[in-house]
Assembly symmetry: C2
Homo-oligomer: 172 residues x 2
DNA sequence: GTAGTGTTACTCGGATAAATATTGTCCGAGTGACATCGG
DNA sequence: CCGATGTCACTCGGACAATATTTATCCGAGTAACACTAC
């Protein structure tokens, strides 16, 4: 049971995008630089988030990504499911009925108890993830993070965010 | 996040071994036949369970595997950790400090909030698995399973279990 | 009939290939910004 | 000076390799049962 490395990148990107103003965007290349990741590969994961309607992408110069909805309405579960897929980690192959003795199909109508137990555990896992919002991550970071790190992050966002024309925040 | 297929096989085997008498054993080949699996590959997972002290292996003719302790003291978590490894699914790569801005190491003493949230969810997952014992699986199967399936399973166990010499159950 | 002994067949265990999923890279389609040109 | 227009650079998106992990297979070491022989 190993989770893909892209999940960590996706959550960090979402948290960073939560810090940009209004509907400004940030390019995938900038975020890849911020975390020392391969730009081309990060786009793959960002694209998964876009497909899942968690991010919005703006093409062209001064384009990039932004959150599709406020950080209060994006949970870690949303991101994990978008990147890792929606199907549960444990997949019951029904090996109980793959043996040499072929019973009638009516003998297997009851669900497999093992599968039920595993799925119940996974529901607990998902419930815990669903309780954490991106805004919580940001708030916790702002409250408990190191001041130097916070300053560096804010400076990075200020430097790399690209304001959009329509309904954007006023520029000087 | 995808769980290996061997976990399902391992749990089914543990449940089946919980049904053998006393210290009798059952060969890996028999269990592979029962579930329609590749015998050579199933041995790999059974070996992992043996290394984790969940099963005991007896070599030689009439040898095989048996539970190392009663089914009441074996949880699904034990089996999952033995097969999938003990480290958590989410591994924090500390990408927050891999960017171009090299802050002092003292800025990263606080643990990563994202990692904390993910680990908390995984603790919930493991706690749910730790509450289910192999004996629960067997009891639930005996109570709710289809009678024909139960009869077939018992017959299979009776036919394939191999009594051991020392301190074994009395034979006719 | 009984004890000792050699063979044998069966078991698990680890080392070795094939298949699959993940990770990483590259190039193309599309779009808005910018400079240039004309009025 | 202002507007229209063509070029361009920058963006994302999907198609294409390299690597790591998982899955599957094979062969060898070890052991207890079994048959045989001698007493």
């Amino acid at each position: 049971m190993k989770m893909g490395e892209g999940v960590e990148a996706a959550i960090h990107c979402a948290a960073m995008l939560a810090g940009v103003d209004g509907n400004s965007t940030m390019s995938g290349a900038a975020m890849a630089e911020a975390f020392g990741l391969s730009p081309s590969y990060l786009l793959k994961h960002l694209n998964q988030l876009t497909t899942a309607r968690i991010l919005e992408s703006v093409p062209g110069p001064a384009g990039g990504y932004r959150l599709a909805r406020p950080g209060e309405r994006i949970t870690l579960l949303d991101i994990v499911l978008a990147v890792e897929g929606r199907e549960p980690a444990f997949r019951c192959g029904e090996i109980r009925q793959r043996g040499p003795v072929r019973l009638d199909a009516s003998a297997y109508v009851k669900p497999c108890g093992i599968n039920a137990a595993m799925l119940k555990a996974e529901r607990a896992y998902r419930a815990a993830l669903a309780e954490v919002k991106v805004s919580d991550i940001v708030a916790n970071y702002a409250a408990e993070g190191d001041p130097r790190s916070i300053a560096a992050s804010c400076a990075f966002v200020e430097r790399h965010q690209r304001p959009q024309k329509s309904a954007s925040t006023k520029q000087i």
